[in-house]
Symmetry: C2
Subunit: 269 residues, 2 copies
Amino acid sequence: MNFIDKLLTASRRNKSLLCVGLDTDPDLIPENISVFEFNREIIEATKDLVCAYKPNLGFYEAQGIEGLQALKRTVDYIPDSIPVIADAKRGDIGNTAKGYAKAIFELYKFDAITVNPYLGLDATLPFTSYPDKGVFILCRTSNPGAVDFQSLLCETDDGKRPLYEIVAIKASELNTNGNVGLVIGATYPEEMKVIRGLQPDMPFLIPGIGAQGGDLEATVRYGVDVNGEKAVINSSRQILYASRDKDFAKAARKATIEINNKINRFLTR
Amino acid sequence: MNFIDKLLTASRRNKSLLCVGLDTDPDLIPENISVFEFNREIIEATKDLVCAYKPNLGFYEAQGIEGLQALKRTVDYIPDSIPVIADAKRGDIGNTAKGYAKAIFELYKFDAITVNPYLGLDATLPFTSYPDKGVFILCRTSNPGAVDFQSLLCETDDGKRPLYEIVAIKASELNTNGNVGLVIGATYPEEMKVIRGLQPDMPFLIPGIGAQGGDLEATVRYGVDVNGEKAVINSSRQILYASRDKDFAKAARKATIEINNKINRFLTR
């Protein structure tokens, strides 16, 4: 099953647009439990409530070889019915991009990846050429510094547009396999609205609710497609660290249910 | 010693602006030799001829845990007097960027990294805040697709500029520790000339000579600073695969000498 079908199937089955960001920090989890064991408990506590999981590779690389082994075990542990997105933000040319694609899709067996568009379309092809894998292109990131370059007004054939809109439009050229999506931060709801207008059918991966202060109601309204789907709304810290004690998995489940219920209420409003 | 001093010291001692790109592909090296052993022989054959080494992480990640172990051993093996640049092209926000910085600078103990500017200045601070480490920001990459976004004409306070020039100018804001450089492909010599005008003192990391067809004479002319320094001209395949046989290290040394001599001739012309 290709990534988009897998995402929609999981999302419909679990009635969920919520993705749990497995950004597990060894300093923030209970003592006497490994990163993999922590992830396993979180997965067990949330797997009937989510549309996807998304580990960010930076957290695992910071833990050295041991971290990457925990990452591999985590991806292997997640049920096949739930897509797993590698938040890797890779971007390189030619053979190097092929190397990253091989690592993420073939060795770790992730279902999708996030990539950085700065190097241009040819640098993204080694990822999009895996027809069953998903590729989320960074469009409007959730951080304050997103404005530095992404908001620059650029000349195009039909007038001026901010860079992130041009990235959103150009993403169509990479979408010959129908496996391309966009990353849009929940902290920029007005921009999200415009981008949804430009790309009505693409899945959006949406970080930035919770700790980063993104607007959940606006995210749901502007993030989904016409069917109320294809928004992958990520939450990490609110769920992983709902309790810093031994009851973390139970607390994570409660937090996941609460966020998911909020999303679904906004969806039917 | 900080990165820039280490680079200049190695460059002066070896009379070299040449960096060997350790992009070791297991499919292209002789049989019965490991990636680490191959790298060790290349390092032994070239360490008196280069200003830096630059492994690209994509090649090592594609080889799984074993590849990353070979990478770690390679960085450890390189003499302390020669700086090692992680061509990682990372870019992420907040804690994740800190994780990548920790992995590259503290675990692998690289001297410098390449980073992607798309996410904005705040995403680069976790790297530049290591005062002794170097940070090369992708400005104008060497691939054909570099034009897709980097060449877009953007509005600025003093008129229109292509995006890569804005990246080059904004890099100054990150340079409070004097440890920032730029990546400029040898395949775009005219752009390099302009960027050297904008940033006369920053080191340039220059991929794209050799297999990618960059113009070496123009690279030397426009890449160096006023003292004929601070250009780090990378060559990978021309050196690593000068011979595909058992004499690869000898052939690599010969190729390194030839390229270095060419660079030094252009430098004094």
